[in-house]
Amino acid sequence: MSVPDRTTSPFEPSADLPPPPMMRGTWGWMRENLFSSLPSAFLTVGCLFLLAWFLPGLIRYLFIDAIWSAADGEPCRAPGAGACWAYVNAKLTFFTYGAYPRDQLWRVNTVMASGGILAVWLLWPAAKGKGLAALLFFAVFPIVAFGLLTGRTPFPSLLLPSPGSNIEWWAFRAAIGVAAVALPLLALQRFWLGGVLLFLVAWFMAAAHWRLLGLTRIDTDLWGGIFVSLLVASVGIVFSLPCGILLALGRRSRLPIIRFLSIVLIEIVRGVPLITVLFMANTMLPLFVPDAWSPDRLLRPLIGVALFSSVYMAEVVRGGLEAVPRGQYEAAMAVGLNWRRMMMLVALPQALTAVIPGIVNSFIALFKDTTLVAIVGIFDFLRAVDTQRLDPAWAGPSISATGYIFAAAFYFVFCFAMSRYSQMMERRHAAGRKR
């Protein structure tokens, strides 16, 4: 093509040419990525050598020499035996439920399945009816789960007028009283407030009639395994984000007392190890409240974990808030938004999107830190695995190793899933908002 003479002809933009070909086949890709220079070629060969040295043994141990079924640990103790999957298989019920009564496992299964379904509903980006899902997950599910798992009336005994009074009768009266307020409100079309009160009515009624279900009481001493690990992790995750947001806002507040209290709480809890927080929650919480209201032995570490993860979350969220440009706050104020709406509608959506990697990082750390509740006597998944390797019928070096491999795989699957989910959310939120 000849160069057009711009002195005589008018300017015409020239046609776009296709880009040069990027992929030059497998060989081209390899040359570009694996053997682009001499050091890189050495590294590639070295890594291949390491893999060749390491992988066959691993595969042989995990699959080929593995014992898939056995009545006890005898075959696994034979020299040259690989991973003892028969042991995991035999102990799977214990790993999952701890000592929860075997004829009542349906209660745990129901809770885990419904919780899982609700969580997927909430987290699935394209799902409809997120408001209903949130209501079910955050309001209804905890009450039902508590009632099902413990077999006790899902109503906090510390809300009762006096310890020892009849919960059912009290709840029934409360339901009637609240309904008397809720129904006129609904008639007056105050749906939000009326709805909340109606929910309370339903809760009281459920509490009053819970005994009719005939569930036996199962104390938390018997709970254990994956089920408890997931419980601790989800309570930590569900509480840490809202509490962390509140603490972050408190730390940036212009009101000196709120700012001071937030800073003190964040710095103190963040300045000590989680184990210390757990010990404190375990031994000191009961000292602050009357004996009758003393929190359950599982509730104490739950509070400790939630508190600990909240203060970490607070700092992550604060980082996001600091990253929102000043002009955004000014524009929000200039259009007349008050502080609360400015935060909820302008600052927090941008701040939280910016720190999705940090938030998920905290969640992943929290998920693995749940193993520390074993220190205060909670029978979590890792502890369950750890105790069962002492079972004389299943004692043996490769059997212990298999248990730990199984535990590692469990934690990896969950953490990796969280990581992938966060990457997907980052991409979704970035789409369309950047040039």
Binding site: A331, M333, A334, V335, G336, R341, L345, Q350, R435
Partner: protein, 257 residues
């Protein structure tokens, strides 16, 4: 989409839209505003100019309380600005502002940027807020961009969205803080045209700008500031042809060339 039935631009109800009486402000020890006295009548268009650091931005940011003044009085359409959230909110509902850096909300679409405050502050139904937003987006000539995100638009388009966003609250007074200073030269005109249209419709405006042609054409009064003080306030003809102060002549010699 519902038609916007009961919306019409609101007017300043008092004779004076803005009164600033003996206003002082300090940033720490730095005295940014020194004894500012300025009256803006209803429907008046004021252009504020001056070298950078002269306090012009701070002055207009005091009018909607993005900055708090420390001495003197500021009265916006009959409401005096004091440390009272209710009054500040009331003034901010009456005063729209356009920033140098646009400050659009990047996580919301153009339409959502325009409807956010009408829905959450004025409690308009969504459909009505949408209709109003589309009306003003049409007026700034970018209705077809309503579904896009701000960062997908050019600077000039973003600034026009910012103007539409402010107008959606049907403000009585509009403040412009160097609205064209962050724009590529090719896009300055589209924003100035929009502002001229607004001026023609009788909006009370205060505009901090270096666009002297805009000032000449639109302003009722030009205010020249230097080092936190109003040096001279005059009609455009007299300001450009026969400035009183030597400092003003120096400034004009610099900017007009």
């Amino acid at each position: 989409m519902a038609t916007a039935t009961n919306f019409r631009p609101r007017q300043v109800t008092n004779a004076n839209a803005i009164e600033m009486i003996g206003v002082h402000k300090w940033f720490d020890k730095f005295h940014v505003l020194k004894d500012i006295n300025l009256t803006v009548r209803a429907g008046e268009k004021i252009v504020i100019c001056g070298p950078s650091g002269s306090g012009k931005s701070t002055l207009i940011r005091c009018i909607n309380r993005l900055e708090a003044h420390q001495r003197g009085r500021i009265i916006v359409d009959g409401t005096e600005l004091v440390e009272d959230l209710k009054r500040i909110d009331a003034v901010r509902r009456d005063v729209g502002m356009v920033f140098q850096q646009f400050n659009l909300f990047p996580h919301l679409t153009v339409l959502e940027n325009c409807t956010l405050a009408p829905v959450w502050v004025n409690r308009l139904p969504k459909a009505e807020a949408d209709a109003i937003a589309m009306h003003y987006l049409t007026r700034v000539r970018i209705p077809e961009q309503a579904g896009k995100y701000p960062l997908q638009l050019s600077g000039g388009q973003q600034q026009r969205v910012a103007i539409a966003r402010a107008l959606c609250m049907s403000p009585k007074i509009m403040l412009f803080d160097e609205p064209t200073s962050a724009l590529d030269p090719e896009m300055v005109k589209e924003v100035l045209d929009t502002m001229m249209q607004l001026a023609k419709d009788g909006m009370t405006m205060i505009c901090v700008t270096h666009e002297m042609n805009f000032a000449r054409e639109v302003a009722d009064k030009i205010v020249f500031m230097d080092r936190g003080e109003i040096v001279e306030a005059n009609t455009p003809e007299r300001f450009f042809s026969n400035p009183v102060q030597e400092r003003t002549r120096l400034f004009l010699a610099q900017v007009l060339r």
